[in-house]
Symmetry: C2
Subunit: 149 residues, 2 copies
DNA sequence: TTGCAAATGATAATCTTTCTCATTATTGGG
DNA sequence: CCCAATAATGAGAAAGATTATCATTTGCAA
């Protein structure tokens, strides 16, 4: 009765590597996260998870997301709006930042090594080692070439 | 019976300039804010306001802080921890940023024009005009001169 | 001084997240 | 394959922050 199941998602693999018990729900949530390339909040993750396993509970989504974050698997983001949002954690090197379109609310990611090192340098100069950078910028689309829309 | 009252605080003055009705409570909260040079949350503001006027309500502090923020008098900050924190809004030019000491939680302000223009340049290059920068860094004090504690 | 619109105080409601606890599932070792 | 130990889950209660409601009070302009 041990059919070769669909292979675990990258995040489920990570989950096992960290020695976390790999439950069906965690597998589901890990899959949903691996499958996402945006910044869903818990409600949205729950909606996506229910598509895969209708018996999952939102309490478990909250718990799992916290567990994954504590284990460096997920990153919590705060774009305002009162709910935490999540995405798969960046690798060891490239952190990334977020530009929020003031009109549409769309989140646009960017990287910038000059920004990385400038920030690190500033805090070093203040006598600290940089632990976390929490940065997001809000911008309004430049009106170029006249005022037509 | 109209004794020359103690002069209004800078923020109360701003309040009047914006055409906001200047109530006793707003005067009190404006005074408390003008008097603060840290980043109090609403509970803390309420505590300080009660010292001045014991009849003030926390609902009014919430309302006033929101009103002041909507009118550009206050800036809301989010340092994590689930409660909004407030400080008098910067003038037109120099925005400032925050370094949070990971050990003590202390908030240290800093300015950096290179950072200002780098951020503005990045978002411009992405086709946007910078509206708001939300930036705080968490740092751990550098252990210098050996590993002794 | 009066009147009216707006603000206040008290408290209920809302919203997100965490906690509780009885039930269920995972996993390592027989 | 089965058991026991242990941890995770589901449902709902609870917590914590903020906003809404509404009767009463107040600021302010006429
Ligand atoms: Mn927040
Ligand atoms: Mn500078
Ligand atoms: Zn991202
Ligand atoms: Zn500040």
């Amino acid at each position: 009765m041990k059919e070769p199941n669909s292979p675990d998602s990258p995040l489920a693999e990570l989950c096992r590597q960290r020695g976390l018990k790999l439950t069906g729900q965690r597998r589901t949530i890990a899959f949903v996260l691996s499958d996402s390339d945006d910044h869903p909040d818990v409600e949205e993750l729950y909606r996506r998870a229910v598509e895969v396993d209708p018996r999952i509970s939102i309490a478990t989504v909250y718990r799992t997301v916290r567990l994954f974050e504590e284990n460096g698997i997920l990153q919590r983001r705060d774009f305002g709006g009162g709910r935490a949002r999540y995405e798969v954690a960046d690798g060891d090197q490239g952190d990334h930042y977020h530009l929020i379109d003031a009109d549409s609310g769309r989140v646009i990611e960017f990287e910038n090594t000059e920004l990385d090192s400038l920030l690190a340098g500033i805090v070093r100069q203040m006598g600290y080692d940089l632990v976390t950078t929490r940065l997001s910028v809000v911008g309004r689309p430049k009106a170029k070439g006249g005022t037509r829309d």
